[in-house]
Symmetry: C2
Subunit: 363 residues, 2 copies
């Protein structure tokens, strides 16, 4: 690989960012818009930074068509911190919350929430070896749940909901860390959506939480002030100094997404990308993906080679062609191609070409 060239990066996260975004960040890294200082060096309360922060929020609102009765919070600690923040803010001490288990991240959210109250696992994909998602008819819902939590996409297993649960008045809480902004969703169906930034939004160290206003103000007395959604909302996510550079860079990604045609355009491109890759897997006897077709992730595509002794040569050859970070998660093995918004169709074409070449040689 030509070292001066950008690689195709299939990392599950922190993941590829749009090259145009990095170029812009690079150009203004020492001097933002002639102000003589970096965005990293600005007071978060300055006029300049306020304009950056507000534009980022507005662009995200535009992209996702977020209704005006939802707050958009730019927080820290990643999705893992949200696993505690959600029950600390939404689950009364004597209440119950429903959780759906579709993989490793769901399980982590269940484990953390269980430390704060009564958690009912309403459904688990375990019955299908995590290769399919139980339909809502089979869910064992609680009466009067404070909320239902699910992960719309499991980054490690490669399992994604292609439908939104319908729960009437029970607030729906979704971990969208790895599929936010990848295709349109109806935000009004949700009570709360959260997403660690480092897949489809921006750099790690930022988590975006979108919460319906009526769910604010219920935090437990033991909830740390920094983890209280209402405090964050009342202070425009600036109760203390936020992760200013990550917020700015996420704003550049939102601008880039708008230039590309928004989330509808992303859906078209992402559909083409996943169709190309799954088709390459399905038309071959050498590669395989075990997930039920209607639950296959558009963002994270795990696949196996016919012989796992070939995993290493496959990865070495991929690296040599600038196809990086294809190794599957240690808990799953095999390969995984994460094809988030910033990974173009050209990257998937290069991957599929390499897969065919490798199969011809070793198949």
């Amino acid at each position: 690989m030509d070292v001066s060239k950008r690689a195709f990066n299939f990392c599950a996260g922190p993941a590829a960012l749009p090259e145009a975004v990095l170029q812009r960040a690079q150009a203004e890294l020492l001097d933002w818009q002639g102000k003589g200082l970096s965005v990293m060096e600005m007071s978060h309360r300055s006029e300049e930074y306020t304009s950056i922060a507000e534009k980022a929020e507005q662009d995200l609102r535009d992209l996702m068509e977020i209704p005006s009765d939802y707050k958009v919070l730019f927080l820290q600690g990643g999705a893992s911190q949200q696993f505690a923040e959600i029950p600390l803010n939404l689950l009364p001490e004597d209440g119950v919350a429903d959780y759906v288990d579709t993989g490793i991240w769901s399980k982590k959210s269940i484990e953390e929430a269980s430390r704060y109250g009564n958690i009912n696992v309403a459904a688990s994909a375990k019955a299908y070896d995590y290769f399919a998602i139980p339909g809502q008819n089979d869910w064992q819902l609680s009466k009067d749940a404070a909320y239902l939590h699910y992960a719309s996409n499991e980054t490690i297993g490669g399992l994604q909901f292609d439908w939104v649960p319908e729960l009437g008045d029970v607030p729906l809480v979704a971990d969208m860390s790895s599929d936010i902004l990848s295709r349109p969703i109806d935000v009004s169906k949700f009570g709360l959506i959260y997403a660690g930034a480092q897949k489809n939004i921006g750099p790690s160290g930022l988590v975006v939480t979108i919460v319906r206003e009526d769910l604010l103000g219920r935090a437990r007395s033991v909830c740390p002030t920094m983890l209280n959604y209402k405090v964050a909302a009342d202070n425009g996510s600036m109760y203390n100094t936020p992760a200013t550079f990550s917020w700015y860079l996420s704003g550049l990604v939102f601008e880039w997404l708008k230039e590309q045609g928004g989330v509808a355009a992303m859906e078209r491109i992402n559909r083409a990308k996943k169709d190309l890759l799954y088709s390459a897997i399905d038309t071959s006897d050498f590669y395989s993906n075990p997930i039920a077709h209607n639950a296959r992730s558009w963002m994270n595509v795990p696949f196996r080679l016919a012989d796992e002794k070939l995993d290493k040569p496959f990865l070495v050859g991929a690296d040599a062609r600038g196809l990086l970070n294809l190794k599957g998660h240690r808990s799953v093995g095999g390969m995984r191609a994460s094809i988030y918004n910033a990974v173009g169709l050209d990257a998937v074409e290069a991957l599929v070409a390499y897969m065919a070449e490798f199969e011809k040689e070793h198949g």
Copy 2:
């Protein structure tokens, strides 16, 4: 001001970063060491990122001579989140902790800790209108305190300890957000030191906590997993995805500090800077700073003009000369020059020259 020129930035935080650090980050923003991807796009578990993270920690250990029985944690949520993490990790439910109040940040830490148990305010600078720090002889210490907490430098008031409390076996916990790395300290005197990055370390969104190992493993059952120091320590600050870019950039700052001659060199430069600025204030009837000389901050220098009607013209003239962010905190008024490590002697010279010029014109 020539817009292509870097300004002198006296912001209290997020604050100035060394220009050489920003240049290096800029040069490798799209392609780190020929790997074809940005540091922001790397898996935190990759070989490349691991080398970045480990080098940053080792450089910080070298700079501060951190003993081997201390863990260095790269966390999120800023000092404000530490205000809760400290009692959640170190204060037993039936225990008591001593706090010293020397200003706004101390008070915030006391307020948050009081939500988790019995807090004794052992001393307060209120008796001196926050212009001086009560000597340890006047402190009302608890018997068997779980720890004593103080802020070594108050960013807003401009009040800094020039001594370290001596408490025998009671662990000393210090908020060093705004003076870490500015001069040598003896880490072994402390149980825990923490510092939000955005003053003397790196970009906001990162907080560094240095904790003696024997203090780990005492977290309350209600402590969120992400706020548990032992979990962070056991996972090398990677229980989940850390703020990778902020950690990397902090590492570049640590490298730069070593190149400058380390913390001892910083102490010499910082002494020269604060001597120059306080001397300009003290030798004038036009400017004033009310803090007792032995408690004056080396990092944050608040000062007033003889007539506050001149504040605005002073700031306008400063801006026009590229001397930015000199406005004092709204709770204090007047001016404040934050002169952290990355603000050079040349910046202070330019400020002092402007102050003299302004006084001549308006004094």
